[in-house]
């Protein structure tokens, strides 16, 4: 529900890096979005498409990579991904799939990371 502010922050970050690298055009942007964030990738993409108009980003391809949830159980030591069930997709953060304990640490799945860009620049 806050995709607009996120999209805005992403565009600012990308344009800032592109300018520092003397980019004349940005060809590609890769963004990582964790599955536990309150961000809908499709809405994010739509807003990025709106915001990129009339900027160096205008022709860029936006690649959104969804990052799965990985947990570490502090009770049994289980580490890794877990079965995400779309109808109850937060269950994973409540109980360890191995031992059913609730003593969990979320390792991945909370990102909104501007990973890299591909640019065109003068030789």
């Amino acid at each position: 529900m806050h995709e607009l502010s996120m999209a805005d922050a992403i565009v600012k970050t990308v344009l800032d890096v592109a300018e520092k690298n003397q980019a004349e055009e940005i060809l590609e942007v890769t963004i990582e979005v964790g599955k536990l964030t309150m961000l809908n990738p499709e809405q994010l993409r739509f807003l990025l498409d709106v915001l990129k108009e009339n900027t160096l980003l205008e022709g860029a391809e936006i690649i959104i990579e969804e990052i799965p949830v990985e947990i570490k159980c502090l009770s049994c030591g289980y580490a890794g991904s877990t079965n995400l069930n779309d109808s109850d997709h937060y269950l994973v953060i409540v109980k360890c799939p191995e031992c059913d304990e609730r003593n969990l640490e979320i390792v991945t799945g909370q990102e909104c990371n501007v990973k890299n860009i591909r640019i065109e620049k003068p030789e």
Binding site: T13, V17, M38, I117, K121, P122, E123
Partner: protein, 219 residues
């Protein structure tokens, strides 16, 4: 001639917010101010609860009143002659650490010992944004429906205190307050859960004590 280059960025906006939040907390710690992020649905009783805390608790309170248009809530707090900073989010559905950083700059921290930060009424977006507060208190009410907790697990999982308000009208709106308590316990087994009616002040003493106990537990 042109060449194509790949540039690594690795700038996580969530992490950037978290860092700002940590900075906010350091500023508050330095001033010896305990802060509470007050979260909850629209109309659940966040503003009313803070008003009662101002009236009934013996803390020196300051309030950051965050809302899409903050002047209404800020006006309610100002009548108690305490430091209030209104924080307009405009179109935004949540507060973030950067907005709070500026609000803290305008807050006379040496005049207060507790800072309540009233977030925008929303059970979804604020989850992603740590503000730097020491405690997260979530206020919901039975009139939002007794499935509110299970539908918004993340905000309850991270809460330090959960207030289920308006229990005096539970029967009228057909809500089962005990179900809400049970759902919250499932998500957050150790959290303190208080059923209240801020209208009759039922549960208020318990809330004041829970906030004080939490403050003592982290000191």
């Amino acid at each position: 001639m042109h060449k194509i280059a790949d540039v690594e960025i690795q700038h996580d906006i969530m992490v950037a917010n978290k860092k700002l939040a940590q900075r906010n907390q350091r500023i508050l710690d330095k001033a010896n101010v305990f802060s509470v992020d007050v979260l909850g649905a629209i109309g659940s009783g966040k503003t009313s609860l803070i008003e009662l805390l101002i009236k009934k608790s013996d803390e020196k309170i300051g309030v950051i009143a965050g809302d899409v248009i903050s002047k209404f809530d800020a006006g309610r707090f100002q009548q108690y002659d305490i430091p209030v900073v209104g924080l307009n989010t405009g179109k935004e559905c949540h507060l973030d650490a950067h907005l709070v950083e500026h609000a803290i700059e305008d807050m006379p921290l040496d005049e207060i010992d507790t800072l309540y930060i009233e977030n925008v009424g929303n059970l979804i977006c604020p989850v992603d944004f740590d503000l730097g507060s020491h405690m997260r208190m979530v206020v919901i009410s039975v009139s939002e429906g007794d499935d509110t907790v299970e539908k918004h697990p993340l905000i309850f999982k991270d809460a330090d205190l959960i207030v289920i308000n308006k229990i005096d009208i539970a029967d009228v709106v057909g809500a089962d307050a005990e179900k809400m308590v049970k759902d919250a316990k499932y998500l957050n087994p150790d959290v303190k859960i208080i059923k209240s009616s801020l209208k009759t002040e039922e549960g208020l003493t318990e809330i004041i004590k829970a906030i004080k106990d939490f403050r003592d537990s982290i000191n």
